[in-house]
């Protein structure tokens, strides 16, 4: 018997359990607190809700705002934009739903004290681009967390949720979650009638470009550990578009954002020989994707594709021409504050390398891939749509409910709804929060957790610490053990497999069926080796369970990538065996489900319904 059996078990009963206190989780808690006045809303967060999630560092823009009351945009326009950017494939019912509510969310942010920049002439929010408005968002997260905590009944910080619990009688119905305190080491059992998954997307499943300390300077936060997928997949929730990973064109090494540079500062890219290059690759791209290259604005992946082709042709580095814009002192200030507000590391890179953008251009690069559902791609759970207009194929329950009863998704966890960003993720959380309350109001019998399963999970959760204790005594010192590998060693194996077989930077984003099959074989062995991770302390135990979530997500990504036999998004990844976009067979969503009973992955297609005209 291991010493982990002495860990105290703390049981928390809730009506709604929100897992993950980032933007979508804060939205879910905020809304559920209003509709569930007589219910208990609990938020559980692995860090500290004041600075957790993808917006911990702040943001300098809100990238999803219609401005309906000023007649700037309508929700239909945003659906057209997102559909175009994702090469035709988005859940239009869900995207419209976010767009119709998002202005109200942003108006509340303004009222709560988020400093909004305003156009001095019109008094309206200062536009950076058609959809983006500019903010001084250093404290964006603390402000939103304050609203969420005012609404939630309880917030538990520093609890790493490891597994979901299903109902004793119905394995396709949610009953709660378990995890542990990264501080006290206590085991937490949350029993809930409804669970909203608002955990983070996936950084660090593909090998990053940085080679040492800089490994943490991924574009998406290193703490985005794919829990948005690693929690629901093992209980059998259906996922969609998991192959739709994103590659970002960003300032080299610091991954500083380029949105404000292109849209507001009007800087532009060129090759190392001072030439515009995108138009050179028009015919090449057209041969792969047809008319999609003629859409306005040019889809992000296709702009990446041109940059990649130009670098492969030996005309890199690709530069952002900043010198003209930065002569204007206002633009210079915006350029720097843009980094300080959301990617401070880029300011550090420029300061360290003596790059003053007023005097010299700065290199761009394409990042390692990420899997997420809130930015410009739409991986995530397959969820039910809004009651008032979602097509029958997309409606089986409550808005944003997954294929598991009582389990809801928002933000990175919810698939099919790209381009929601911070404001849209909070909004989607609100939609899911209200739906979860309605689900509970209609619920008959309260779901029951299986106590035997909980006890078994308690042993499983702490097993890596036990393994380390025993294995460490076999060896003199150091990190090489025949019994265990560390969470970091496991992570690096995962990143290498995904990089080399599933379309990472090593192959310039290229993969094919034989590579994916080999990748799946190696991922299978890594999955088995997850039972052999040794955790030295509670921090390493957190890293261990983050790795579990990343491996589940990666297996899903690889199965989806294999299933879609086309190259839908050149610039994000390429199928060498199916090098062209194929609207005949693949103008569909990919759905993937891990079957917990058979332990097989089941793949199918789902129709893309276009609700909005061109």
């Amino acid at each position: 018997m291991g010493w982990f059996n002495t860990r105290e078990t703390i049981t928390v009963d809730a009506d709604v359990l929100v897992i993950g206190g980032g933007f979508s989780g804060c939205g879910a808690a905020y809304e559920a607190g209003h509709w569930g006045r007589d219910m208990k809303v609990v938020v559980v967060e692995k860090a500290n809700i004041e600075r957790s999630g993808a917006v911990a560092q702040g943001l300098y823009a809100i990238n999803c705002y219609m401005g309906m009351h000023w007649g700037e945009n309508q929700p239909e326009d945003h659906v057209r934009y997102a559909r175009n950017d994702l090469m035709g494939l988005v859940r239009e019912d869900l995207g419209y739903d976010i767009a119709r509510h998002v202005d109200a969310t942003v108006h509340k942010f303004d009222e709560w004290g988020l400093p909004m920049m305003r156009d001095p002439e019109t008094g309206r929010y200062q536009r950076e681009g058609k959809w983006q408005i500019m903010i001084h968002g250093e404290s964006y997260k603390p402000i939103i967390a304050e609203a969420a905590q005012k609404s939630a009944d309880e917030t538990y910080n520093r609890i790493m949720v490891t597994h979901l619990l299903t109902d004793k009688k119905n394995s396709n119905r949610i009953a709660g979650a378990v995890g542990f305190s990264v501080r006290s080491g206590d085991f937490y059992v949350f029993r809930a009638k409804a669970v909203v998954i608002t955990a983070g997307g996936a950084s660090h499943i593909f090998r990053p470009r940085a080679v040492g300390e800089g490994m943490g300077r991924t574009w998406y936060a290193p703490w985005s550990s794919a829990s948005a997928y690693g929690l629901p997949i093992p209980v059998g929730a259906k996922m969609t578009q998991m192959e739709n990973r994103i590659v970002l064109a960003r300032f080299k090494d610091g991954y500083g954002p380029v949105g404000a540079y292109f849209l507001h500062l009007k800087t532009y890219t060129k090759n190392a020989y001072d030439e515009e290059y995108e138009s050179k690759w028009y015919d090449d791209t057209k041969a792969m994707v047809g008319d999609y290259i003629d859409r306005e604005p040019v889809p992000t992946c296709l702009r990446n594709h041109a940059m990649l082709r130009e670098m492969q042709a030996g005309r890199g580095p690709i530069y952002m021409e900043t010198r003209e814009a930065f002569q204007d002192p206002h633009k210079e200030q915006v350029g720097w504050e843009n980094f300080l507000g959301m990617t401070i590391g880029q300011a550090v890179v420029w300061a360290s390398q003596n790059i003053d953008p007023k005097e010299r251009m700065s290199e761009l690069t394409t990042s390692e891939p990420y899997v997420m559902g809130s930015h410009a791609t739409c991986s995530g759970a397959w969820t039910s749509g809004p009651d008032d207009y979602a097509p029958a194929d997309y409606r089986w329950g409550y808005n944003r409910m997954m294929t598991v009863e009582g389990l809801f998704a928002a933000g990175d966890a919810c698939g099919g709804t790209a381009h929601k960003f911070s404001s849209g993720s909070f909004t989607e959380g609100r939609v899911a929060g209200k739906a979860a309350i309605n689900y509970i109001r209609d619920l008959g019998e309260t779901p029951q957790v299986d106590n035997a399963e909980v006890e078994k999970l308690k042993t499983t959760v702490y097993q890596p610490m036990e393994l380390y204790q025993v294995g460490r005594n076999e060896i003199v010192a150091g990190t090489v053990s025949p019994t265990y590998i560390s969470p970091l060693q496991g992570l690096q194996r995962l990143e290498k497999i995904m990089d080399e077989y599933c379309g990472g930077i090593a192959t310039q984003y290229m993969t094919n069926e034989p590579m994916l099959d080999r990748g799946l074989e190696l991922l299978g062995m890594l999955h088995e080796d997850l039972d052999c991770i040794g955790a030295e302390d509670l921090h390493q135990l957190q890293r261990t369970w983050e790795l579990h979530h990343r491996v589940w997500a990666s297996e899903s990504v690889t199965h989806h990538t294999k299933f879609r036999e086309e190259t839908r998004w050149p610039g994000y990844y390429y199928r060498g065996d199916h090098p062209k976009l194929d609207d005949g067979d693949w103008h569909v969503f990919t759905l993937g489900r891990y079957n917990p009973d058979s332990e097989d992955w089941e793949m199918e297609k789902a129709p893309v319904h276009h609700l909005i005209d061109d």
Partner: protein
């Protein structure tokens, strides 16, 4: 970037441990002061730097691509509602920036109980809390009953 902690300034208060989103600021058991236990999982988010009451935490750019000699220092003053930055280049040039961080008092956001409870009809409506008023348009848009919009 990782962050590092000056021995003479840190008093071991643990504010950085409490705030770090990556759980990498820990207290050293011998010196009773904070340090970064896992620099390669540091996002350079500056959450700990901004929070440190002693200004004991600083950042040295990632060794694999940032030459030495730079600094990006910050002072966040919640009570004043501002954040101030000083950037120093490797060659000594400096740049300063100040931005607002909040326009209302901290803690001033209202709770659900400060607002009327929802009515039965509102539960079945598509409207979220504060709608349609917060939308600043007459009614929540819908695709219901529309042919392709």
């Amino acid at each position: 970037m990782p962050t590092f902690v000056y021995m003479t300034r840190c008093d071991g208060c643990g504010e950085c441990v409490d705030i770090c989103p990556s759980d990498i600021m820990h207290i050293d058991k011998t010196y009773r002061r904070a340090y970064n236990i896992e620099p390669n999982m540091c996002w350079e988010c500056y959450s700990c730097v901004k929070m440190c009451p002693q200004h004991a935490i600083d950042v040295r750019g990632y060794a694999d691509f940032a030459p030495l000699g730079h600094s990006v220092r910050v002072r966040r003053e919640p009570e004043k509602g501002t954040i101030s930055w000083k950037i120093k280049f490797r060659d000594g040039r400096e740049k300063d920036f100040v931005s607002p961080i909040r326009t209302t008092p901290w803690g001033s956001i209202e709770e659900p109980k400060d607002f009327p409870a929802p009515t039965e009809e509102e539960y079945t409506s598509q409207e979220l809390w504060h709608e349609p008023a917060a939308l600043k348009i007459d009614a929540l848009p819908t695709l219901a009953g529309k042919e392709k919009a």
